[in-house]
Amino acid sequence: MTIEALLLSAVMAMAAGLIGCFAVMRRMALAADALSHVALPGIGVALALHVHPVFGAAAMLFFGGLLVWAIEDRSHLATETIIGVIFSAALAIGSMITSGDDLLEALFGGTTGAPSPTEIVFGLLAAAAVTLFVLRRKHALVVTLVSPDIARTIGIDVRRLDLLYLEMFALTVALGLRYLGVLLMGSLIIIPAATAKRLSRNLNQMLWTAATIAMAVTLLGSTLAMWLHQPTGPIIVTIAAVGFFLSFLRAEQYSV
């Protein structure tokens, strides 16, 4: 694996760990995972049109983020059910229009080769955007998490923040597809954050623990995958899951 590929996977993982903290605290782990599936038809269409798959995936994810946002606003609908149905359908349709090795790689990730200049620029910009978003808006995200109504009284545009959050989430998924694929990228966002939540006593601790765990499992997983000649995604997620279960050996930090 090249230095560029390692660097890209590290910044991608940092963004995933950070954005995942709020997904876990907002209890949208399942919705977030389903959202990543919407990338598959985008990859299929992009491959058919001979466009770089990451752009097809990013376009579909952007649309998926908008959709979740619109559905969440109509709270009388069974949000989880609708999200589950729509995004499973996207996965099914995507599987039909993508084929062979492309499908396997799109589902589970696996490229350990050198990233193209386009991928490097997109990756660095996207990771910087997600990281900056979380660090700059963490206070607004915290107040909105505790009470959207309180957030409104201090001048936070809750609807806009929700949309921005979902689109940053979608961007993070697009960023990691190369390594983990549409089936597993959601897990790199959720599992390190869930582990960090168990180990942390305050917000900053959780953010940095999640980012560190995500980077560590990604670098370790990528190295192991290269050594074992296996796709990267399954190995990274397995290591992340082992870390999560190991965290149970320690008492949860919030209990006093």
Partner: protein, 238 residues
């Protein structure tokens, strides 16, 4: 409720406010004015739309009719008992600091707010899920105060708080109102508290609304009409 001193002292003007969900009319043609430094208690049975009225007044839900806050109004809002996930690693200090950053308020305002509600820094540095009901309500009041509000909207601030804690919170709000000249809107089921502290009362129920001084609204007949059942409460004469 309009001020004898003229429109300059009107903080909130509500005109023919109506709210309906589907075929259910929650409240209709609600009109009142609130002057600076007043203390308005909103009373009524469950489901009468008290919380929805507050949520409408902070712009969280759309309503028919109009309401105007006076220019320069800064609202501090304490919502009804929040259902916080007990396991999030967000401390009271994280939450208070979030107001500092989001609303541009200084660290010393946060310290003052904690001091005003009698919450120690040690309690504020614990995760919010591990705070007791009373501590969490105090934290919410501290958050509201850290924005240097001139209007406080309190939605059953003592719900879930033990009896001594309720007394302390009521005293605290009353003291803050007197010290800082805040305008107060309070939803409460404790009619003795309403009788003691409110300068005016707004009653809400599905079939009627009324506004007036506590002595004229909180009569046995009127309460019977509002709640649809006889209501007894103890008036503290001090």
């Amino acid at each position: 409720m309009s001020s004898p001193n003229g429109a300059d002292h009107i903080v909130l003007e509500v005109d023919r406010l109506s709210l309906r969900f589907g075929s259910t009319q929650i409240f209709k043609d609600l009109s009142f004015r609130l002057s600076r430094g007043a203390s308005l208690a909103v009373v009524g049975p469950n489901g009468a739309g008290k919380t929805l009225l507050f949520r409408a007044l902070i712009g969280a839900i759309a309503v028919e009719g109009t309401f105007h806050w006076a220019p320069g109004v800064r609202i501090g809002y304490v919502p009804q008992k929040l259902d916080i996930a007990r396991d999030v690693p967000i401390t009271g200090a994280d939450f208070l600091r979030a107001n500092v950053k989001a609303g541009g308020i200084t660290d010393s305002a946060v310290a003052d707010a904690l001091n005003a509600v009698g919450l120690s820094m040690q309690a504020a540095s614990q995760p919010i899920g591990s705070l007791s009901g009373g501590q969490f309500q105090r934290l919410l009041v501290a958050f509201a105060l850290s924005g240097a509000p001139n209007v406080l909207l309190l939605d059953e601030p003592t719900a879930g708080v033990d009896e001594p804690g309720q007394e302390q919170l009521n005293e605290l709000v009353h003291r803050l109102q007197e010290d800082r000249g805040l305008t107060l809107l309070l939803i409460s089921h404790d009619l003795s508290v309403v009788y003691r502290y409110a300068t005016s009362v707004l009653c809400l129920s599905r079939h009627m609304t009324c506004v007036g001084a506590p002595k004229t609204v909180l009569t046995p007949d009127r309460l019977n009409e509002i709640y649809g059942a006889p209501v007894a409460f103890h008036v503290h004469d001090h």
